[in-house]
């Protein structure tokens, strides 16, 4: 099998060979632009018949628009004006209760290119209508927002790992808050980069620092909430070419933990040793298992992709602490599935075909499904929203339920990259009725 680097190199040379040099391109574009503009002006010079047709077309169009807007307004709720705090990208967001939650907010590209780059942590206490920046102090020389990581345990406890290039070697420093971001405590600094964090309770946590250029990572643990970190082992860390990948670490107890990726690795001694977890399915090349979510020590669920296109995607469920896993299928019409959320071992939601491919192919509202038996059966939930933006297509970026009734979703417009917007919606009846909490363009 080719390595990622080999494949990437082959990819580049394969496309280079169909990309001949085009030194004339700017001139050709300029000339084409002149031609098109002059043609347009000529068209504008014979307006009589065209004007008449345009008036008729305009009247028809106005009639259509009025009808569509009327239908839309009867279906959609009123939009609350955007708060400045949501004028950027939510990623990822964790709502802890129906009112309180966190948002890990990327700065805009423009701010990053201007050197104002730290990723920020925001918090809401009113269901997302208003947000407050509760970021910890920012270390100097933070190379990129993507090198930071946050772990949001509950309504008040959170950790942020900041990577800093520093004057010498890159290092990572953790910050902890126990009061919702009002105050932060700086923990030890460790040499490394690209951190991944996980905490099982307010005191016990793990910090992963991938060893660059290898498939392992330094694993550190803490029992004092991140003030000090102890080296535990070099853990298997398949990573992913971007370095930001799907390999993640989770723990279901102080001793039992999981590393996801091309397969599922398990530890039963707090991360000192790692083994491959047997699964009920065989993962082909390219298949992967997501980081499992545990609702208690026994019950957990992981998303599993066994093919690379719109093929079988499923959940793996355990009720014995991860010793055995069983397959739970997704609805038949679901592929490709990307957005889902479970609040406990039984209750979960998914939006089938939530990405653009499905919208383009099916051209229909995306169906919301719910399970009350841990994924054994899925029932379609009738909702009052199209899971696409009203004009053409949209993207559901997250589905975040906090209990059986209360949930949130983020919808992003697709296509118009100059003015994309986000919509933050909430439901209080298990997904049947959704209300737009805030709506905002993506601006700095």
């Amino acid at each position: 099998m080719k390595t990622d680097n080999q494949l990437r190199s082959e990819f580049r040379s394969a496309l280079e060979s169909v990309t001949p040099a085009a030194p004339w391109l700017a001139h050709a574009v300029s000339k084409s632009l002149d031609t098109r503009l002059s043609t347009k002006q000529n068209d504008q010079a014979r307006p009589q018949l065209r004007l008449g047709l345009n008036v008729v077309a305009m009247l028809v169009l106005i009639g259509l628009v009025v009808a569509v807007v009327g239908v839309y307004l009867t279906v959609h709720p009123a939009v609350v004006p955007a708060h400045p705090g949501v004028g950027r990208v939510f990623y990822p967001t964790k709502m802890v209760t129906a009112s309180t939650g966190w948002s890990w907010v990327e700065p805009s590209i423009e701010r990053r290119s201007a050197g104002v780059s730290p990723v920020e942590l925001w918090r809401t206490t009113d269901g997302g209508a208003h947000w407050t920046n509760v970021s910890p102090p920012s270390l100097p020389d933070r190379p990129s927002s993507y090198t930071d990581n946050a772990f949001l345990l509950d309504a008040t406890h959170a950790w942020v790992a900041e990577a800093s290039s520093g004057p010498a070697r890159p290092h990572v420093t953790t910050f902890r808050t126990t009061d919702g971001g009002k105050t932060w405590h700086e923990g030890a600094s460790i040499e490394g980069e690209s951190p991944d964090l996980f905490f099982i309770d307010p005191n016990h946590g793990w910090l992963v620092l991938p060893v660059q250029g290898t498939t392992s990572a330094g694993l550190y643990s803490t029992d004092d909430a991140g003030l000090h970190w102890n080296f535990t082992s070099f853990a298997p860390w398949a990573g992913w070419p971007t370095g930001n990948g799907l390999t993640r670490i989770t723990f279901s107890s102080i001793t039992t933990g999981w590393i996801s990726g091309w397969n599922l690795m398990v530890t039963h001694d707090g991360g000192v040793t790692w083994h491959v977890q047997p699964l009920p399915i065989t993962l082909p090349a390219g298949g992967y298992v997501s980081s499992p979510t545990f609702f208690d020590r026994q019950h957990g669920i992981a998303y599993c992709c066994t093919s690379n296109g719109p093929g079988p995607e499923m959940f793996l469920v355990t009720s014995d602490g991860g010793i055995t896993w069983v397959v739970r299928n997704t609805p038949a019409e679901a592929p490709p599935l990307e957005v889902f959320d479970f609040v406990d071992a039984n209750h979960g939601w998914l939006i089938a075909g939530s990405n653009a491919e499905f919208s383009a192919v099916h051209g229909a509202p995306l169906p919301l499904y719910r399970t009350d038996d841990g994924g054994l059966t899925w029932v379609r939930v009738p909702t009052n929203v199209l899971w696409r933006s009203p004009d053409e297509s949209g993207y559901i970026d997250s589905l975040d339920f906090v209990d059986e009734k209360n949930g949130f979703a983020m919808r992003r417009k697709l296509g118009d990259v100059a003015n994309p917007y986000t919509q933050w919606l909430s439901t209080t009846d298990g997904g049947r009725t959704w209300t737009v909490v805030v709506e905002a363009p993506r601006t700095p």
Binding site: D4, S113, V417
Partner: protein
Amino acid sequence: MAVLTVPITLVQAAKQGDKVAFMSLLEPSLEPGYRLACGMLHDSQAAEDAVQEAAFKAWRKLGQLREGHALRPWFLGIVANECRTVRRSRWWSVLKWPKSEHPVETSPDSGLSGIELRRALRRLDLNKRMVLVLHWYLDLPLDEISAITGISVHAVEGRLQRGMSELRRLMETRDEN
């Protein structure tokens, strides 16, 4: 590649109809746009068409570009949409545009190199192909790809992984056959 922020004065001039200012703004993004189109379409003539059409649309839509925003991701987004259109209605492109007046400089065996990979790449759906080309061929960072494609960085990551896996599988299948 660094993301360049557009100088405000040039944008203002271009928005007021100054074509020279517009071309000055656009020129640094033309080559990445052309590479993106070639990577998507595997046809330099169609790629040139796509870039020219995208440039015209960029001119018409320039009012949508907010001052201080980077032009490149905005323009590459238009090129990407144009590539979709070209693929959907290739006949239109062929009929609409005359043959290029420019000779295509290629080596004797160009096009043969990597033919299996390109064949596999063409079997990927457009969205996966696009993020692969943007990331692996144009070396763009994930955040810029996110801006171009209008999806989250997280989704870009997922799409990259799926695209790479599918590409690998398609190539391995061919190798086995």
